[in-house]
Subunit: 155 residues, 2 copies
């Protein structure tokens, strides 16, 4: 990526207007994500905003094209614990890069942004769950495999 592209692909926090820039459609590349009404989006946005720096969603907007679409995102929330001397842990979730811009290291930019935030907030570690297939990517971001993830679905 040259320096011009570096300038174009900046990470910033999610804004309400990003809903109309393809944010939801981007999440649909990750998992089941039905279309969300403007009201539902705003309500959830405000619920998350209440947590302040303890729950951050970041995005990259593609200013390289006329579309100005959101092409990468990831979220981080901070869990407060009693262990580790009343320590804090950052949880990274819902990382996705638009299939049209893969290979430009936007995923790494997202992970670095969220990890830096977690560290700045005083977390002693940051964790995430991923498929075995995505392990090499996260290793490049400085992560190591530790445990296994278990899940119980209600619906």
């Amino acid at each position: 990526m040259d320096s011009v592209e570096e300038e174009i692909y900046q990470v910033r926090k999610l804004e309400i207007s990003d809903k109309n820039k393809g944010f939801i459609e981007l999440l649909q590349q990750l998992t089941v994500c039905d279309s969300v009404s403007d009201e539902a989006f705003l309500e959830r946005f405000q619920e998350i905003a209440k947590y302040g720096d303890d729950h951050v969603i970041c995005v990259i907007q593609d200013d390289n094209s006329n579309s100005g679409r959101i092409v990468a995102t990831g979220s981080l929330f901070i869990e407060k614990k009693f262990i580790r001397n009343c320590g804090k842990v950052g949880h990274i979730e819902d990382v996705v890069v638009d299939s049209s811009v893969r290979g430009k290291q936007l995923g790494k930019k997202i992970i670095d942004f969220l990890s830096d935030h977690a560290r700045a907030m005083g977390c002693y570690k940051v964790i995430l769950d991923c498929s075995l297939e995505n392990r090499p990517f996260y290793e490049k971001c400085g992560f190591k495999q530790k445990e296994i993830q278990m899940v119980k679905y209600f619906i």
Copy 2:
């Protein structure tokens, strides 16, 4: 476990007075957990309490003995997402049962309590990370292995 023991080992939410009933010492069986001052405990307790039903720590007190000590605990916090139709996910953390009372299914009681809470709060799933060694226990609680956990330590 007979019905008398069933009555004795009830799950309830963490209270401030549990600090003097061995709550921190119990967490020390799980991981690094230095002794915590009363002030630091109260501050963290209040920070977590602000989240209301979105962050619950539960405990089991041993009323079977004169000690009245806390012998099991686990925590759950609820993450608000945009995916899955603005869905919610329950994250289970820091589950530990005192080594002296293992085999009484207290761990399952803790997991069931936290899972039931997540379901009641509208989560579409509940997730946790554990060692491969603990997988059979969580399978008995209705969980299935899904992904892998990656971690990056800052300290």
